[in-house]
């Protein structure tokens, strides 16, 4: 397989873009997580976040969170005008500490979920969702 000079440049550019992007997002993501945990460390285990890799429309993005034993799960979207999305507080009648909903994402960004466990510890997870620009959108 051979590439023309132009193709090689394009690939290089794309790689560079991919390499620089996460660093910038990671910073604000960790700040947002720290904002919820009050600076306490959050485990990467014990929480799951399901979100599409690519959302067809940022208006309605299906997401699901699950954190067995959690008291509450806070969901944030760092790339929105305001990062708050929802806070799920689980009562004694909840069977498993999980919930699904549909959210708005202003653009490609990290969706973050932070669980507060019964013992006061935290678990956090984040996932990048690419939000596509509609073709016509008419």
């Amino acid at each position: 397989m051979t590439f023309t000079r132009r193709e090689t440049l394009a690939i290089g550019g794309a790689t560079l873009a991919v390499a620089t992007l996460p660093g910038k997002l990671m910073a604000s993501t960790s700040d947002l997580i720290a904002g919820v945990t009050g600076g306490a460390a959050a485990s990467a285990d014990g929480i799951e976040l399901t979100a599409p890799e690519i959302a067809e429309n940022g208006n309605t993005v299906p997401v699901a969170v699950s954190a067995p034993g959690a008291v509450a799960i806070t969901m944030l979207a760092g790339g929105n005008p305001t990062p708050g999305v929802a806070k799920f507080t689980f009562g004694p009648g909840s069977a498993e500490q999980s919930a699904s909903t549909r959210i708005r994402l202003a653009g490609t960004q990290d969706v973050i979920a932070i669980a507060e466990m019964a013992d006061g510890s935290f678990a956090a997870v984040h996932k990048t969702v690419k939000v596509t620009i509609g073709g016509c959108g008419g």
């Binding site: 959302a55 208006n59 596509t132 959108g137």
Partner: protein
């Protein structure tokens, strides 16, 4: 062993990548009923071999929304229409239910619409509904693409869900079909595009980050994630025309009615999916 599984994965990837678009192999099943989402094109279509429901062009997440009537947000509006069906309106003191026992009596109707009536006029579902309202109920006509009309269209159309689209194009319908076909292939607007440029020449291709569909209307009215409401057929035609920088025809006008007949007939062989979910 390990090599075999890798080979299988690679083979799977190759198979997947030969599909024209993401959901071509997905199966649409609602409440246990399987839907025909691809079929041989009707004989009158000269340039297309296979017709596809717009559902197959959507991502897994969007597809899933149509596979369960609770997850499908259209049903909020269907339920509102069920209430409207029983609500008295107008000077005659009647509701839909005064003449039509239940919405189920409209089973099969959506699959045949639009159609030519005995007077030789092309009639669409919104016109039938507004005809009832103004002539029998003494009520005001609903706005073509308003919430009440689109909800009622969804409720009436739902009664034919799963029926094979079978729109008549011969006999009295022939002149309307020809007019609609001409409109379909006529380039208009600043971008100088016809319906066919996108929905016949380029379906399955990307238009920016979107998959272009064949522009089938067998699932209308459709709940769009974009505007989170039910969208009517003529409302969608209007949107397309704006996108190509053309002056849209009037909703309910002769042009869109003829175009609706022609476009509807391009889905002859697919199933009614009303109310569908699209992006």
């Amino acid at each position: 062993m390990k090599l075999n599984s890798i080979t299988a994965i690679v083979a799977g990837l190759v198979v997947a990548s030969t599909s024209a678009f993401a959901g071509e192999d997905s199966v649409l099943s609602i409440d246990g009923q399987e839907f025909i989402t691809q079929a041989a094109a009707p004989a009158h279509m000269e340039n297309v071999d296979t017709i596809y429901s717009g559902w197959v062009f959507r991502t897994d997440e969007t597809q899933a929304l149509e596979m369960d009537d609770f997850d499908n947000p259209s049903f909020v509006f269907v339920e509102q229409a069920e209430e409207l069906f029983e609500t008295v309106d107008g000077s005659a003191g009647k509701a839909c239910v005064s003449c039509h026992e239940s919405p189920e009596v409209f089973a099969g109707l959506r699959a045949k619409m639009p159609r030519v009536n005995d007077a030789g006029e092309l009639e669409t579902l919104p016109e039938l509904i507004n005809g009832c309202r103004t002539e029998r109920m003494g009520a005001e006509a609903w706005k073509w693409s308003g919430g009440q009309m689109s909800g009622m269209l969804a409720l009436v159309g739902l009664q034919s869900r799963g029926d094979i689209v079978d729109v008549a194009i011969d006999g009295a319908a022939a002149p309307f079909f020809e007019k609609g076909k001409e409109l379909y292939y006529t380039r208009v607007g600043q971008l100088d595009m016809s319906c066919a440029n996108c929905h016949e020449d380029n379906y399955g291709n990307m238009i920016r980050a979107d998959h272009l569909s064949q522009g089938q209307i067998n699932g209308f009215p459709t709940y769009r994630l974009k505007n989170t409401k039910l969208n009517t057929i003529h409302g969608r035609f209007k949107g397309c025309m704006k996108n190509i920088r053309a002056t849209p025809f009037k909703e309910g006008g002769e042009e869109f009615k003829a175009l609706e007949l022609y476009v509807a007939s391009r889905a002859n062989g697919l199933m009614v999916e009303t109310p569908s979910v699209r992006n």
